[in-house]
């Protein structure tokens, strides 16, 4: 009972319902959509978005942002791809990729948490540098001729039509969700974003928490980059472009507030599925995928505006409530006033 009530209050739930409704509506318009392979395809295509969005969620939890995730993904994909092409063993390549991601996260965390640079502009700059480095590394050429096994693994399914990658991403997301909601230290991310001042009072090391959030974000983007390479099978010079936007949109769709302190990685994952599905679904609804960006933009704006208005109202309401509570209801005091003032 309690669990049910909790579930009903969760912001993620509305995202899940939205996703289900989306599928049903599409199914009504075009019944041929509603089969396992189509629905699974929506999930499977979302795997890269899911990982990036979950990483992004950490930076949003603490009230910051990281727009370098797309470039991070791209550079990791490039490096891992070229290593594999040149015959490096898969574990080595993966390890290198993850280390690169962690390093990028550390650089971002250093700038934002320790040097206090505004996160959006700082990570925008880092994004530019990474993009340039990526060109420098590849000379603008595509990374192709990847080992067949590596590419084929992306099609291996685990549960029904769901790929191993997606299932692994789901498991990872759930593990992270448990860690961030059920453990003592895991909650610190949300706490720092929710009320940094209050976090201080209960003894939470805010700077360290912020740096760790960026490192997690960097690592997850790197993992996304590796899976991206495997799924696509080649790496173009602009790989990962725009993923930061999609990831932010996914997080917002999943109920994560951009002012920090609200939301969960489950929400980010669900939002990622919605984001990834939109272009796929449009096709089934008879629209061209040209509507993709416009619809994404509208959804994003509507959600943040409604959210902001609700938040604003509750803040004002609380402020007024506490002011009203201060006024003495005692009419005798008012009576004294009249006596005092002629």
């Amino acid at each position: 009972m309690k669990a049910l009530k909790k579930l009903l209050h969760a912001r993620e739930l509305s995202s899940v319902l939205f996703l289900i409704a989306l599928f049903l509506v599409v199914g009504l318009i075009n019944p041929s959509f509603l089969n396992s392979s189509n629905v699974s395809a929506c999930f499977n295509t979302s795997v890269v978005y899911t990982l990036v969005a979950v990483g992004m969620a950490f930076t949003l939890f603490i009230g910051e942002i990281d727009v370098s995730v797309g470039a991070n993904l791209g550079i990791v994909a490039t490096v891992v791809g070229s290593m594999l092409r040149d015959g490096a063993p898969v574990p080595t390549a993966i390890l290198v990729g993850i280390l690169i991601g962690a390093a990028i996260g550390l650089i971002n965390g250093w700038g934002v948490a320790i040097m206090h640079a505004p996160s959006l502009i700082y990570t925008l700059g880092v994004c530019g540098i990474l993009r340039g480095l990526m060109y420098l590394y590849t000379n603008g050429a595509w990374v192709e001729n990847l080992p067949k096994d590596f590419k084929d693994f992306s099609a291996v399914t685990a549960v029904g039509d769901l790929t191993v990658y997606y299932c692994a991403a789901v498991v990872l997301t759930i593990v992270i969700w448990i860690l961030t909601t059920k453990t003592r230290h895991g909650r610190y991310f949300i706490a720092v974003g929710d009320n940094a001042n209050g976090a201080q009072l209960v003894g939470i090391p805010a700077t360290r928490v912020k740096v760790i959030a960026y490192v997690i974000c960097g690592v997850l983007s790197a993992v996304a980059g590796i899976i991206f390479t495997s799924r696509i099978g080649f790496v173009t010079a602009d790989s990962g472009d725009g993923y930061e936007m999609k990831a932010i949109a996914a997080c917002v769709l999943g109920g994560i507030s951009l002012v920090g302190g609200v939301g969960s990685v489950i929400g980010a994952a669900v939002g990622a599925v919605i984001m990834a599905s939109i272009s796929y679904l449009l096709v089934f609804m008879g629209f061209s995928s040209n509507y993709d960006n416009a619809i994404t933009g509208i959804i994003l704006i509507v959600i943040v505006v409604v959210d902001a208005l609700i938040q604003h109202r509750s803040v004002v309401k609380n402020y007024h409530a506490r002011l009203l509570a201060r006024v003495s209801p005692d009419q005798a005091v008012a009576g004294a006033t009249e006596k005092g003032v002629e």
């Binding site: 009230g63 910051e64 942002i65 700038g111 320790i114 040097m115 206090h116 640079a117 505004p118 959006l120 502009i121 700082y122 925008l124 700059g125 880092v126 994004c127 530019g128 540098i129 990474l130 993009r131 340039g132 480095l133 060109y135 420098l136 000379n139 603008g140 940094a196 001042n197 201080q200 805010a206 700077t207 010079a237 936007m245 932010i248 949109a249 917002v252 951009l258 002012v259 920090g260 061209s288 040209n290 509507y291 993709d292 960006n293 416009a294 619809i295 994404t296 933009g297 509208i298 994003l300 704006i301 943040v304 505006v305 902001a308 208005l309 604003h312």
Partner: protein, 359 residues
Amino acid sequence: MAANSKTPAASKEAAPKKKGLTFLKSGQASWNLMLVALFVLEFVIFGAANPKFLKPQLLLTSIDDSMSVMIISLFVTFVMITGGIDIQVASLVGLTSIIIGVTWQDFGFSILQSCLLAIVVAAACGALSGFFIAYCGVQAMVVTLGGSFLYSGIALLVSTLSSTASYQGIGNFPDEFKVIGQYKIGGVIPLQIVIYIVLLVIAFILLHKTKYGRKIFLCGVNPSAAEFSGINSRRVIMSTYILSGIAAAIAGIILTSYLGTAKSDLGSDLTMDIVTAVVLGGTLSTGGKGSVFGTALSSLVIALLRFGLPLCFKIGTQYLDIPVGILLVAIIVGRSVASHQSVGTTVKSLFFRKDAQKA
């Protein structure tokens, strides 16, 4: 956190700082001087490396290539002075371009009507985002991010209304339109530059010589204090997004004319250059400080960088994001360091400093 960086009390007793960094946050004049020095340095280095760089003809062309960034950054400066940011302008360039192309080619508008419509649409897009930011209190970053999706998406949809496939671009514009981007006065000075100078003067007067400009600064430093002074800070903030939208439209018109084709994704990669130009120009990302002149200088510095590096050092244009990115990161970190008393300041002292001063 954003809210915190606005705390006006942040550095009341700004104790003596490391000398080397003070220039990062002090006077606009000395900052502009530094930009001029940077500018001259570029000339010296690039000129020495490749004398071709110094040819006026080539130089002026290089400026043409960066015209969009130069124009838009002038008015994004307004936005950033209010403490906001506008990353949707890049998408408005494409939207403008495709609206001109489609309405002119397929709807039978005159080219003038098309351009006017494009400007009105871009202004409306800016107004919509500005409204959400100023009146609904949503962070500028998110709204303009959503805006960049929405407006580039609309641009794509508009392009499907055309009989021409979107990847081809709409061309064959009348000569009187091509003049805007391609005509050179006396065969030397591009008309674009004249338009830019006019816009520069307008922006300068608006920001530094009018009451409206003053209100922009005040709203950027402390919107609450501005409201207590009877300034309608919401309206002021919203208006800056309209201006940046119009600037994007003008840039879109010039770019379309210059290239001779209208495409929906024109200008989509300009965001970082615009933000860098504004920040490098001395505008505080937290708002309240900035100058049109600084932005103009820094956008020139970036334009020369993007022109000179490939020409003189054979560096591929794709790598140019590295120096621009480094420039942005270095400036933004340098500024934060300069405005914090000690680098290792813990969050704790950040938070309670305000109380400390009140007590």
